[in-house]
Subunit: 480 residues, 2 copies
């Protein structure tokens, strides 16, 4: 019985022996008050040192699985589990509509999945090969040596204060007036957006946004049972006539906009249009959630300040930022910048959700940023992605010449192909080893089925060309 | 103008110069199409290398703040922000009842705060001085060298799969049958509990729990607008008569229990009572959320298996676990173990909330655990905390002899002092430099005002004695 144990190399041997004996006790293979082999016997049986067995037994005692009798040895405690008769719950009946919808709208679960060997244009995550892991390690070790114990213990709901200060400065550098504003650190954009909607909206409220727009935002708006009013896009951002028209027909609590490198279209709202949109929303007193998506991945043209900068010392814009779209998405750090008093409420909501975002991650990211690594990284990343972006435009032109192509930067382009059903293109492409994101999931009203988003950040130049050729072939075949 | 810049030592100089020029441009101090000093001029003006200035200018160009004319130099782009007239939103009117309640029930904000020099029995966080930061660093470096890039990029909503496997094994070692069960990694207990309530309950539903119970759980139940039915506690856990009575009078969707080292009382529900409670809830078909709070901090007696273990291959128990109550709370890692199919739904809810928990933290924690560090740590921590626990009991007996003291382990004790208002005790103690948590916040019905919780994990032996003496004096004074 005792010599059936198989030892691995990773875990300390005493723990493996302890866990093995524990499982024998729990399964009732050794019973209450039964004597365990002496440490001497077991050490020779297993060919490990006697100290190892002593340590295993002590730990078993500390965990309450055995007791010791002086001079007599180790005995099993009264811990055997008395299994009760079967009780099955039908959880699918317990699930409420919120969880049902979360599952239903979960595109990760229901869209075409990548299989080995496929070329995938689905991802708009950054290419992890560009990450400077060495610098990140350095930042970790620096921060740990300064305050390792502290950042591993509880922190504050609002966030790690040096990071908040850094981000306030970062926003100021975009032209934002930071007076009377504050920042809440969140687990990425997703949590920031969810917390805002949770805090100001109720079931059935109207929200106005671009159409198409970020699919995760659509999902969250739907999960909050909002009435989503999408406004179509021109080449320089949301169509003003339709915006005005929609605003005049309904009472809106809030607007959601992605002015830069709009997801999925890649459109950048012009500086002029930002002013017009801002003033139109002001006229109807509809405050703005501004999604700062990928603002850093500008490849050409002048800097365009976020809408929040226009509001100067006003407080009508809530900015949701996230570096994690381009840098270290795995650590899930984003932020909400907003009116100071409002942030106070959001802080309490954040605390009620998950106490706070990982203080370790926040502290290490702060150290990484403060040392100038982000600027260095972004220069490198911009160069690599720009090259890919330009190649992607060329390939689109060459292989899908009838397509209307959108996208002025970032990590993806958006394609419109009138008369072609993107789902049909995807189906055949998938058989030929290429996948992408069909555009319909980005429409608030499922009004179009002829668009798709192509993310290129994690696809090699070689794969880009092969992928576009396959997509182009399929499009041609379907057009015939 | 340019020589007003003040340089710090931490951030690379070119970034500081770039940010300074940026802010001058944004503020309109240098205008559109104005020429910047030549790199040679500026380098001599600031006494930095010319390369530094070249680098600053290139970055400004990349970010779209300046443009270069060959042979002529660097000029300011059209980026000045056109501030719009004032738009003030009254966010306190925008806030919905959920966010208002989150703020109202936020005890961190509204309870007595620690000030320098005070002895605080408020915290039940672990003592960070016991953390083995060296081992944590090692785990980080190991994991980073194996898959640094990967864990810094997007992961999966369900969690980091080696950690999930480790925790399944960990639960099996507590006697849980893991067949047809699965694990979702969450940002600590708080998120796990919130996600479960969000997924199965609706406004006005009834929930049954212990009274008193975990204050964060009460807050979350209230934020979900549940009708909370608290059942009083005996010395070995929930009172069975009252439990039966309550179950028979209302229709409950779910029960919430803390069987081990109950927060705030520290009571451990006996093995026998676990069986009785389980079968009573089964009779009324009310599934159980089991809070695995501090199960590891047992100082005496036999191991008692979690309620989930009793259910064997049934699926009626949802277990919410968290090592982060005793180890590295700052990284916020917990888990829900439940029926496999149910976890599938919760996974989608988690994805809609914040995509996933930090993959870096999960991977490093996995490496730390797998190498046997947790067992080593817990042995040390148990020894230190046990000593403090025993000393605390002695002090309670010595200085507050009339008190009824609860608590069989963990990091806190609970005190009942009939005829004494704990808020009054706290008020005077606070003036004399001692704070603790008044017990009323743990009661579902505010039925008692004569209890308080004393956390001792982060208080030194010397402070414990001084603190108890002060509390004892105040109690005596108030009793007169």
């Amino acid at each position: 019985m005792f010599n059936d144990i198989k030892l691995n190399r990773k875990t300390p041997v005493y723990i493996q022996i302890k866990d093995y004996i524990k499982s024998m006790i729990l399964k009732g293979m050794i019973r209450k008050d039964e004597k365990l082999p002496s440490t001497r016997e077991l050490s020779s049986l297993l060919s490990v040192s006697r100290n190892t067995i002593v340590c295993a037994y002590e730990t078993l005692r500390d965990e309450g699985f055995i007791y010791m009798k002086i001079g007599k040895g180790a005995f099993v405690s009264d811990v055997q589990i008395k299994h009760q008769s079967m009780w099955k719950v039908d959880w699918t009946k317990m699930i409420n509509s919120y969880a049902k919808n979360a599952e239903k709208f979960d595109t990760v679960k229901h869209e075409a999945k990548w299989k080995k060997g496929m070329i995938s244009f689905k991802s708009i995550a950054p290419d992890e090969n560009l990450f400077e892991v060495g610098e990140f390690k350095k930042a970790f070790l620096n921060r740990m040596s300064i305050e390792g114990e502290k950042i591993l213990n509880y922190g504050y709901a609002k966030g790690y204060s040096p990071l908040i200060k850094y981000l306030l400065k970062y926003m100021e550098n975009k032209g934002v007036n930071i007076k009377n504003k504050d920042i809440l650190i969140t687990n990425g954009f997703t949590e920031g957006f969810d917390i805002i909607l949770s805090s100001i909206l109720n079931d059935g409220d109207n929200i106005i946004c671009e159409n198409p727009t970020h699919d995760t935002a659509i999902k969250i708006m739907k999960l909050h049972n909002l009435n989503i009013h999408g406004v179509k896009l021109d080449n320089d951002g949301v169509n003003l006539d339709e915006l005005k028209n929609t605003l005049s027909q309904n009472k809106f609590k809030i607007a959601y906009l992605i002015p830069s490198y709009h997801n999925p279209t890649g459109i950048v709202m012009s500086a002029d249009k930002r002013i017009k949109v801002y003033n139109l929303l002001k006229e109807y007193n509809v405050p703005i959630i501004e999604d700062g998506f990928n603002e850093e991945l500008r490849y050409m043209g002048s800097h365009i300040a976020p809408i929040m900068a226009l509001s100067d010392n006003g407080n009508s814009v809530l900015y949701v930022g996230s570096l994690s779209k381009i840098l270290f998405p795995g650590i899930r750090i984003g932020w909400i910048m907003a009116d100071q008093e409002f942030i106070g409420y959001l802080e309490s909501v954040k605390r009620s959700r998950n106490i706070h975002t990982s203080f370790l991650d926040q502290a290490v990211l702060y150290e990484y940023l403060e040392s100038g690594n982000f600027e260095k990284y972004i220069r490198k990343a911009r160069k690599v992605y720009k090259e890919k972006y330009e190649f992607v435009l060329k390939c689109a032109d060459k292989y899908i010449p009838d397509a209307k192509v959108y996208g002025e930067g970032g990590l993806h382009i958006f394609i419109k192909l009138e008369g072609v059903n993107a789902r049909n293109v995807l189906k055949i492409c998938c058989e030929r080893g290429v996948i992408f994101t069909p555009g319909d999931i980005f429409y608030t009203d499922h009004s179009r089925n002829d668009t798709f988003r192509l993310g290129f950040s994690r696809v090699s130049i070689n794969e880009i060309e092969r992928g576009f050729k396959i997509i182009g072939d399929v499009v041609k075949e379907l057009k015939v």
